[in-house]
Symmetry: C2
Subunit: 182 residues, 2 copies
DNA sequence: GTTGACATGTAATTGGTTACATGATTAG
DNA sequence: CTAATCATGTAACCAATTACATGTCAAC
């Protein structure tokens, strides 16, 4: 149930409406915790009802501005300081690797090559983000820099691994191709 | 909907009962695609009903052995060769990083240090797995070796990153501690 | 006046988790 | 005979996704 904590975390910096919050998810948290509009509005309602948030202003078009309460901050701190993060990631790209023998060696190598390219692309995108962001903009950007670095290292590792794996299969693939030819 | 493909993939190697399949999930796929018993039995039923699997034997205790059908293989191949993997990972550990400024510098550094240790532990566990597995045991173990290497590299990267990040904050933390003292 | 951004919500469905519930067979 | 393993299923619940639905305000 980390969505609630992501929202509390964003609201700890400053109050926002559901609409604002969504934009902040899209810009800063998309890569670590994507959220949809329905989810955000639904959760805002629940958090307000349980007293972790409160409505501090109403504006045009039914705009409601939410702020974190003392209990909200307590819950957020509790989550950060006294619980351990869930670490089970499903990884579809890696699941496929287990079944690569069902493809021809060439297809398998092509799969890994595409993965390498995709990782490189994503890394390039992150680098773009890094250049655009104003790094003198509050605590969130300091932390954001750490998270960004994680992303860069992850994508670099993925690219290297995929190229290595392709090479591992490549030997076999090439050998089989040779055998087929002769 | 990758669970179905994971199951088809395992059954492509050889037929199995729900019970067998669960054990194979636990041993080989836990790290990339965990599945619960309810899920496995539920999905087996659906896959049999839609003709991607068929029951090839019934044994003691109501045991039903499932085998992949031609359509099942076609679906599996389609998934492998003609679709791109979903790549959005929610990452709770990294989400927390965005909000580390809500902790004291010492707590934040401690969080990252714990993350580094955890990554190291998980890496050690994977190394254990690598030593135990019989690497001459069919195509799944060839592919498994590639997946294992991914895990090793991932955990190594996570450990290095967490140590680096702790150092980044450590400067600030130490400075603040000094300021507090004087 | 019309387009685009602002703004909020609900409903249906899917995928996954946890808990419950039951019973047969084998090995010691 | 008793414990462990084998074996299958259902029900309730939760989180997330997609689609639907509505309406306001500002700028041009």
């Amino acid at each position: 149930m980390s969505l609630r904590h992501a929202m509390l975390g964003l609201l700890a910096e400053r109050p926002a409406s559901g609409y604002d919050l969504m934009k902040r998810f899209e810009t800063s948290l998309t890569n670590v915790w994507p959220a949809t509009q329905s989810q955000v509005y639904g959760e805002l309602g629940k958090l307000a009802k349980t007293g972790l948030l409160e409505i501090v202003a109403e504006g045009p078009r039914g705009r409601k501005e939410y702020a974190i309460t003392a209990e909200g901050r307590a819950e957020l701190r509790h989550w950060l300081a006294e619980t351990r993060p869930e670490r089970s990631h499903r990884n579809e790209a890696l699941l496929r690797v287990f079944f690569l023998d069902l493809l021809t060696p060439l297809e398998a190598v092509a799969y890994l090559a595409t993965e390498a390219e995709r990782a490189a692309e994503l890394r390039a995108e992150l680098e773009q983000v890094g250049e655009k962001v104003d790094w003198d903009d509050g605590p969130l950007s300091v932390n954001g820099r750490l998270a960004l670095e994680y992303g860069l290292r992850l994508r670099a590792m993925q690219e290297e691994w995929a190229r290595w794996a392709a090479e591992q299969l490549g030997g076999a693939g090439a050998a089989e191709s040779e055998a087929g030819k002769s």
